[in-house]
Every structure is written in structure tokens, then in C-alpha cells.
């Protein structure tokens, strides 16, 4: 008998409610994926303001859930289990989703699973590409995270093999966009500008690629500073900033380091599948370069469609479904959200 899993996400600035069907053969089918975003309210601050995000979650939570059930054509009573992002994320934002999920679980009399947001970003791929081979390598690139993860079991065993030592890749996009006077969030406008630019125009540094650097860690803060220096120097010379070339050259540096390290990690560990997820996975150059390099190395590349890569409730429902299918014990109703939940804790 198939089971319906509801997923609730509120770790940052999107309120997401997803509904999936877990089939008996373990496949997970997407039924609804409703998101309310407060991103526009943060734009003028150049980054997410936690109190603004939390206020928006409170307003949006139940209406988003109502839309999800309407889209899926399901009743609340059809739900068999609920999963909610327990962390990592903003404390006040997580609190709203966790509190709502507990109330829904108590009222519907169904088990509740507090799950890991980062694992959700990986699990969401199974909605589009089917079961994940094990082991798989995941490159998680978002506004808050940049990590290389070994996934032996999406429902239980995820190990970090590298991460950024400073800025996340998405954060670098957002900061460079500000420098170039492009709107927030910076990923999409830089991606767009880069299409008209020359990626070889400026040789920006590739962080953490020296012989003594940690092989699977990343650093983007030096790159961001290099872009700032270059722009300031051009301004001092009274030159107009070639925004398209700067964007393309910056983007090339990011995509180069991310894909080189991911492919090397997969090759060295004998892993045949790479999943790239998180908001930055929507980047056109990152996916084309990854496709090129994975093909050359004989690695299967899986990149979920952009809608699934940014924060949403479907990814949490999908992870919840895998956790349910694995027979994991539900969380107790008195668990607390953990803003710093490590990726090794897939469910509480």
C-alpha cells in the first residue's frame, strides 16, 4: 500500500509544503510542491533578515499547506507521515515549521520525522531521476552551504568529505552581484550577464587548489576579493566596468573549482554517480562544465531541475519518504530544531 508523506520546510526564506507518494517499490512520486518566498522582502537588505523571514513563515505556513493539498487533490486525512526540516538553518525560521509540523502530526495522529535540510537537497533528486545508486557523491551548493558529501544511504549515512572554509558558493554570487550593481539574489543575473561575456577575459584565482591545500575543501572569499580589487582598479582608471566579462570570468572560476574537485573526489573513491543540488545547481555554466567533465571521467551526472534545487517542501517530503521506507523510528514530539544540525544526522 502506498503512503503519503507531507514535507514542511522553513529553514531560510522559503516556506515550503510538499506532498509525495511513497510506492511499495520504494519509488517516490511528487504530488505537490508549494512554496511561498519572502525573498523580495530581503532584497533591499542585500541578504536574508532572520526576523523578516520568520514573520513571513508564520503568515505563509497554513495557506501554503492548503495550496499543497488542493494541488495534490488530497485531504489532510490522507497523510500517513510528516517530515519537517529540523536544521540546519535560521533558529527563528526553523521554529515556525517545526511547531506547525508537530501540530499537524498530533492532530492527524501520524508519525513525525525531524530531518536534515541538506540531506533533503540530495533526496529531492530521486523525485526526478529515481532511486539513487549507492554510494553516490553529492555536491551541495547553495546560499548557505558548499559541501562534497558521500551518500551511502540517503536515509541514514551521509559523510562530509569537503566543504567551504569561508563563503558558500551562492554567497559569493550574491556578493559579486552587489559589487557589479546587479540585483539580489545574485546567481540568476550573473548567470545571465555571463552568457554575453568572455570567461577567459580575466584570470581570477581558483581558491584552495594549491598543492598544500585541503583537496576537497573550497574557498570563495579570496575570489570575491579578487573581483572587488579588479573592479576598483578599473574604476580608478576611469574605465567602464565590463560587467559581462567580469561575470563570465567569475562564474568560470567558481564552476571550474567546484566541478574539478567533485569529479576528482568521485574518481578517487570509485563513485560512479554525482548529484549536484542546492540553489547554485541552477547555474548554467556549472551544469555544462560538470556534464563535460563527468562524461570524460565516466561518471553519471544528476542535476535536479532548478525548481527542485532551491529550498522547497517537496525535498523534505522526499527525504521523509526515504526515511519512512527505511523503517527509521519517528522523532519524539518534544524535539527541538537545531540550527547547526550536522549533515551526518539525517533524521532525529
Amino acid at each position: 500500500m502506498s503512503r503519503i508523506v507531507m514535507g514542511i520546510e522553513s529553514s531560510c526564506d522559503e516556506t515550503g509544503v510538499g506532498l509525495v507518494r511513497l510506492h511499495d517499490d520504494g519509488t517516490v512520486e511528487l504530488l505537490a510542491d508549494e512554496v511561498a518566498s519572502s525573498v523580495e522582502q530581503h532584497a533591499r537588505f542585500g541578504g536574508v533578515v532572520p526576523e523578516v523571514a520568520s514573520r513571513a513563515h508564520l503568515e505563509a505556513m497554513v495557506p501554503t499547506a492548503q495550496r499543497a493539498f488542493a494541488t495534490a487533490g488530497l485531504e489532510l486525512s490522507d497523510v500517513d507521515a510528516i517530515a519537517v526540516t529540523a536544521g540546519p538553518g535560521l533558529a527563528g525560521a526553523l521554529l515556525v515549521g517545526v511547531s506547525a509540523a508537530k501540530a499537524y502530526a498530533a492532530a492527524l495522529g501520524v508519525p513525525l520525522y525531524g530531518v536534515n535540510h541538506l540531506a533533503g537537497h540530495i533526496a529531492v533528486d530521486t523525485l526526478q531521476h529515481g532511486p539513487l545508486p549507492a554510494p553516490a557523491l553529492a555536491l551541495l551548493v547553495s546560499g548557505g552551504h558548499t559541501q562534497l558529501l558521500r551518500v551511502d544511504d540517503i536515509a541514514g549515512k551521509i559523510t562530509e568529505i569537503g566543504s567551504t572554509v569561508d563563503d558558500a558558493a551562492g554567497e559569493a554570487y550574491d556578493k559579486v552581484a552587489r559589487l557589479l550593481e546587479l540585483p539580489y539574489p545574485g546567481g540568476p543575473p550573473i548567470d545571465k550577464a555571463a552568457k554575453n561575456g568572455d570567461p577567459t577575459a580575466i584570470a581570477f584565482p581558483r581558491g584552495m587548489t594549491g598543492p598544500r591545500d585541503a583537496r576537497f575543501d573550497f574557498s570563495f572569499s579570496g575570489l570575491k576579493t579578487a573581483v572587488a580589487r579588479w573592479v576598483e582598479a578599473a574604476q580608478r582608471r576611469g574605465e567602464e566596468i565590463p560587467v559581462d566579462d567580469v561575470a563570465a570570468s567569475f562564474q568560470e572560476a567558481v564552476a571550474d573549482v567546484l566541478t574539478a574537485k567533485a569529479v576528482r573526489a568521485a574518481t578517487e573513491s570509485g563513485i560512479g554517480t554525482l548529484v549536484i543540488s542546492g540553489g547554485v545547481a541552477a547555474n548554467s555554466r556549472l551544469s555544462s562544465l560538470a556534464a563535460e567533465r563527468c562524461e570524460a571521467a565516466g561518471i553519471e551526472l544528476r542535476v535536479p531541475r532548478p525548481r527542485l534545487c532551491t529550498d522547497n517542501g517537496a525535498m523534505i517530503a522526499a527525504l521523509g519518504a526515504h526515511v519512512v521506507a527505511a523503517g527509521c523510528a519517528p522523532s519524539s514530539l518534544d524535539f527541538s530544531a537545531n540550527p547547526a544540525l550536522p549533515v551526518s544526522t539525517v533524521s532525529l
Binding site: R44, F45, G46, V49, E51, V52, S54, R55, H57, L58, M61, V62, A65, Q66, L76, A91, G92, L95, V96, V98, S99, A100, A101, K102, A103, Y104, A105, A106, A107, L108, R178, L179, T225, A228, R229, E232, A233, L333, D334, F335, S336, A337
Partner: protein, 205 residues
């Protein structure tokens, strides 16, 4: 009828069940669970709701209405109570009525002179509202420094509302059978956020 009372606008995590006579309006508390811990709203509220309803000899499906404190409150936990009430209302199919937390405290006042209700707003400020001798709100809710307030004849500085007070404050609306007002939080303060100024230069020369 059976009413669930919730409030997380103060440091207390408050859940209780109150029975209200539809004819006379007489309200009687049946069970409550209260924990004083400003960091436990997200952890304990739903367990407290389940325990209070269970102690009252009922299940969640027996509830007829929810009354929920909507602040003002200085803790991020205010939203835990409100979203819990909203989600319970959605999933149980019962109305959720908003209550100003200061009104819920005022509902427990002894009759007599007009009075003021104060709660801690942190940052050396208080939330306050003034009431007449019958407990009707005349002014507020506001947030101010205590030194800026005019003197009041009588001051109630209970730290948190009781489940009975929460339900008393919502009772007229509940008994009227009207559509509840939306559950809108009384923040009284703007979020702390500053727009970025001009960017710092990274070059030294």
C-alpha cells in the same frame, strides 16, 4: 463546548483546556500544562497540548474551538504558539480565535478600580494596556520604557495569562459563532534590519 487555550507570548509555554457553557457562558478550566522556559516553546507546546487535552479526559478531535494569545510578546516563541493554533485549526477543522495576551491577563483581574496590565518586553521596555473597572481595554497595547508611562491607579504585572483568562478574553467571539478574526501577531516593533550602506573598499591604495 471544549476550548483549547494556547499562549507563548511570554516566557511561559501555556496550554489548557476550558469548558464553556454555550447557554450561560460559564467557563471552567479542566486541565493545564505550563512550563516557564522562554527557549522551550517549540519543544514543549504540542506535548503540553496533548497532555492537557488528555488530562481533561478528551482527545484533540473533541475540541470545538481554539483561543490563542497573539502577543505582544518579545520572544521568537510567540510564533510557535500562533502557528500551532493555525495548524491545529486547519487540521481539526475548528476555528482559532486571536486574543491580545494583555487582555487575557486582564481577564483574570479582580473587579474594582481601572487598571493597567504590564508585561516584560525586554530591552528595558514593557508592553502595556489600560483597562476600565469592567476590564474593557481603553488604551494600548503599546511598548514603552517604564519611565515614560503616566501613573496608573492599579497595575497588574502578572507574568503570563492563564488558560481561563485566554478563553474569557475570546469568549464573546467564540459564543457569537462569528468567523474569527485572522491570527495576526501583535509585534509592535519593526524587525531589526538595516539597509547596507556603501560597500567597503577592499583595496588599500
Amino acid at each position: 463546548m471544549l476550548v483549547l487555550a494556547i499562549d507563548t507570548a511570554t516566557l511561559a509555554v501555556t496550554a489548557g483546556v476550558v469548558s464553556v457553557d454555550r447557554e450561560t457562558g460559564a467557563a471552567r478550566p479542566l486541565a493545564e500544562r505550563v512550563t516557564l522556559d522562554a527557549r522551550a516553546h517549540g519543544e514543549l507546546l504540542t506535548p503540553h497540548v496533548l497532555d492537557a487535552v488528555g488530562d481533561a479526559g478528551h482527545g484533540l478531535a473533541d475540541l470545538d474551538a481554539i483561543a490563542c494569545g497573539v502577543g505582544p510578546g518579545p520572544y521568537t516563541g510567540l510564533r510557535a504558539g500562533m502557528v500551532t493554533a493555525a495548524a491545529l485549526s486547519h487540521s481539526l477543522g475548528v476555528p482559532a480565535y486571536p486574543v491580545c495576551t494583555l487582555d487575557a491577563i486582564a481577564a483574570s483581574a479582580e473587579p474594582g478600580e481601572p487598571f493597567r496590565v504590564l508585561t516584560d518586553a525586554r530591552r528595558r521596555e514593557v508592553y502595556w494596556a489600560d483597562y476600565d473597572a469592567e476590564g474593557r481595554r481603553l488604551d494600548g497595547p503599546h511598548v514603552d520604557k517604564p519611565a515614560e508611562l503616566t501613573p496608573a491607579a492599579r497595575v497588574l504585572d502578572h507574568e503570563q495569562p492563564t488558560p481561563l483568562g485566554i478563553v474569557e478574553a475570546a469568549k464573546a467571539a467564540i459564543l457569537s459563532g462569528a468567523q474569527p478574526d485572522p491570527l495576526t501577531p501583535l509585534y509592535l516593533r519593526r524587525p531589526d534590519a538595516t539597509e547596507p550602506g556603501t560597500r567597503k573598499r577592499v583595496s588599500t591604495s
